[in-house]
Each structure stands twice: as structure tokens, then as C-alpha cells.
């Protein structure tokens, strides 16, 4: 068991085209650190200066992590993390 992280199309260049990757960790931060060891560069597209990038949305089990601790949001085996680039513009 581990945490499943669903990857948006635009970041699949970091996962060899895979729609989802798996990682271990008790927090979102740890999971991202873990998957970055096998998919180098992926974390940097999601995190900047130890905080979530402004135009990336991350959800743990349907909950926007901005309301549940950000990178410190707890994760457990079987959880699903969804990464969605914000749809935005001017």
C-alpha cells in the first residue's frame, strides 16, 4: 500500500507518461519528496520555496489541501492525491 498521486497531462513528461505514481509518506510533503526521487523535477513543478505553487491545486482524498495544512496535510496508505493545474488567466 502507498499513496497514489494522480498526475495532470502537462506534468506527465516527468512520469514517463504515467497518469499516476505512488509514494510513501505521512504528509503530502513526504509523499512528494518520495515520488521526486523516482521522477526528478516533478516536485519542483508543484512546490516552490517550501510552499505549494500558487497556480497548482492539490487535493488529498477530495479535500483541497490549502484548507488542511498545505504540504503538512497528513497522508496515509490508500490515500489519493490529485494534482490539478489551476485554470486561470487574465
Amino acid at each position: 500500500m502507498s499513496v497514489e498521486v494522480r498526475i495532470p497531462t502537462i506534468l506527465r513528461t516527468f512520469t514517463g507518461g504515467e497518469k499516476a505514481v505512488h509514494g510513501d509518506g505521512a504528509t503530502l510533503q513526504e509523499v512528494l519528496d518520495d515520488i521526486d526521487t523516482r521522477n526528478p523535477g516533478l516536485k519542483e513543478r508543484i512546490v516552490e520555496s517550501e510552499t505549494l505553487r500558487r497556480f497548482v491545486n492539490v487535493y488529498v482524498n477530495d479535500e483541497d489541501v490549502r484548507f488542511s495544512g498545505g504540504l503538512k496535510a497528513p497522508t496515509a496508505d490508500g490515500d489519493v492525491v490529485v494534482v490539478l493545474p489551476a485554470v486561470a488567466g487574465g
Partner: protein, 161 residues
Amino acid sequence: MTRAIAPSVTAVLKIAREHVDAMIAHARDDHPDEACGVIVGPEGSDVPTRLVRMINAERSPTFFRFDPQEQFALYKEMSAAGEEIVVVYHSHTATEAYPSRTDISLASEPQAHYVIVSTAESGASQWVRSAYAPSASSMVRSRRKRSTSRNRPSEANRWQE
């Protein structure tokens, strides 16, 4: 030399009249704030079949952003139905239907076409299919990169909001 992206360069995006009318109606409804939404379709089809109005969480005349919770609900709907975003649309309420720098830098759906509706001229909405697409430099090279636009590149520096 034939490039790998050639097939999609020759492909033409078709948007149903009712969807065009619905995008324009949405833009008018939300004027002077920017309106935004999507037309989704079967994954890989490049055929837009279902229009979904999205909330502009910014409620701004110069910026739009999908509400993160609503966007997640859309994601789940699309995943369950085997759909993806085919068209992302938004409105410009004080300027022409031409992608701003912000539009270009934040575009992050490589499979999508980006449509802008302008309500700048009251009662004379216009729409164009724009050519902006996610940057190839950082991530995925978009097969929409070479889409045509009737806009002139020399005007690019005029649109900054």
C-alpha cells in the same frame, strides 16, 4: 520534412453553434467580470460535446480562475465519464479577444483549445479561436502550438492584463 504534429495542424476544431452561442451568452451574463468555462468531450476525440459554465473565483474584470472545488468536481465527473477538457473559454471585457501574457503563461491544458470571447464592444460580442498553448519550453510540447489565429503577432504587447 513532415513533423510529428502535422496531423493535428491540419485538423480543424469544430464547435457547435449552440456552444458558441452559450459561450457568448455566458460572457454577456457576467460582464463586466470575466466569465470562464469549458467544453468537454470524450478523451482523445478532440470533439467538444458538453459545455460547463465555471465560477470565476476571482470575480474580476481582468482575471479569471476556476473555483478550485468546482474544478475538482469537474475533474471527477470527467474521470468517471472518460472525458477531458477540449475547450477552455473565458472572456475579455475591456479588450479584444486576444490572449494576454497572463493567458499564455498560465495555459496548462496541453490537449485543450483556448477560446476567448470579447464583450468589450457592447452588443457586438466577437469570438476567436486563439492560438496560445502551454509553453513547450518547460513541459509538454502542445500539438496545438501551431494552430492558426487571425490575430497579428505584432499586437501581442498590447494585451497585458
